[in-house]
Symmetry: C2
DNA sequence: GCCTAGGTCCCGTGG
DNA sequence: CCACGGGGCCTAGGC
């Protein structure tokens, strides 16, 4: 069976279904009243409450409360999960090596256990990333300024990796730091770090922050440091049939 | 009912259960073969495949493939979800305002639809954060160095917010940048930004990066910039009954 | 709302 | 394995 679900399962049914799910490399889904303990890079405790538990065949382990996009506790891919019944208590335990981390869920009551032997061969096709900004600039350098010549993408330098490295029409070295969204102080610091590293070995180096907009603080720091800004919004390329927007927004 | 689940539901059952879940402010969980379209800050498409869909009463919307900790597509809290049947097709649609983002799921086949009216009044108690490193330093300033006096936490300065600001026994201003994990180039740039801002208005300013360890690049840059490093690991405080570790690791 | 920075960030990529 | 930086980052805390 590709999918199985049991409401209010007994301990035996939980063990049975869980093991069958594991052997099928299925995604396990549990609605439970539970407590959660985590110890690893940090350490946490979560008292009794109702949560949704998702365990994937790659070892990913997610515990979701009824709010927020983020799981309240989790384990990343590569972790090993196990189910243990002892002394009338039932535990899910997930262990990760390197760094060693343990996630322990005490299942106080299981409302539903289900699994899904999911088949999926598709990968996400996403557009509008920083990488596409770089492509756009290489295709059309005048978006930065007249006479700009981009030379490298993702170029490693002394203290970091520059998004785009090129020269302007005067022959100055130009470093671009690209941001797909509004650029902040962090982005300016990053650009400054690259510019200073290049200035150790070259005469004239310009730094340009390329983004759709700037935060107020970023603007202040950028100006103080003599760095520049060029407005550019990441392109959304047509990855699919034309007219997708229409069906989406209809 | 707190929980409901239906295997291989008809269109009517899907609509029925989905609406009941919404009215109960339950978490909706769907195992489906589906396609996904997203348009907003970026834009994406995901071809047909089996996924787990989780919709929370706060508007959070997650689509999980069988691998990775991260949802392949999602909508954050505050989004509005709806179910629409048209022309023998069934769609889940979630809309977010500000920024405007649309997530559309075409349900090609629903293997299981379930909901869970979760009750949860507990919040995560977590220890081992950067904030606790700051507390520790205020309690025991000699962890930084003999004679160090911490004065401010999260102190806003010209270009950013300093983790800890204090003075050393010579009266120099000392800026601490804390990292709960291995500190990288970014951390050094951040510290450098604060130190340079403070040096505009004060004579002697020291910058100390406080972390359990440093990346190789961070060490190089730190030394070149004349900044300092103090090794400190974030404390895991006993937030619960003593001896938790024992049960966890047994 | 904007800004700033942390996160058990996760994740991909390159050395 | 480490290092580096992006992300539709998300989330929290100030203002």
């Amino acid at each position: 069976m590709k999918v199985e679900a049991k409401l209010n399962p007994t301990y035996e049914e939980i063990v049975d279904i869980f093991n069958r799910a594991l052997s099928k490399e299925a995604i396990v889904n549990i609605f439970a009243h539970c407590r959660v303990f985590y110890d690893g890079r940090a350490k946490s405790e979560l008292g009794p409450g109702d949560r949704v538990i998702l365990i994937k065949p790659d070892g990913s382990f997610l515990i979701h409360q009824k709010e927020k996009r983020e799981p309240v506790n989790w384990q990343p891919p590569g972790s090993s999960v196990g189910l243990e019944v002892k002394e009338d208590k039932i535990f899910l335990r997930s262990i990760r090596r390197k760094p060693r981390e343990i996630l322990e869920v005490e299942l106080l009551n299981v409302y539903l256990i289900s699994y899904f032997q999911a088949e999926d061969y598709e990968e996400l096709a996403l557009t509008g990333s920083e990488a596409e900004m770089a492509d756009l600039i290489f295709e059309n350098p005048s978006l930065i300024e007249d006479g700009f010549k981009p030379l490298f993408k993702e170029k490693p330098i002394k203290h970091g990796i520059v998004d785009v490295l090129g020269v302007d029409k005067e022959g100055n070295i130009v470093i671009l730091e690209l941001k797909r969204r509004r650029a902040d102080l962090h982005a300016v610091s990053q650009l400054k770090r690259y510019v200073e590293a290049m200035r150790e070995e070259h005469e004239k180096v310009r730094g340009i922050l390329v983004a759709p907009s700037l935060t107020s603080g970023a603007k202040k720091l950028l100006e103080k440091e003599g760095l520049e800004f060029r407005k550019l919004t990441p392109p959304k390329r047509g990855k699919s049939k034309r007219g997708r927007q229409k069906t989406l927004f209809d």
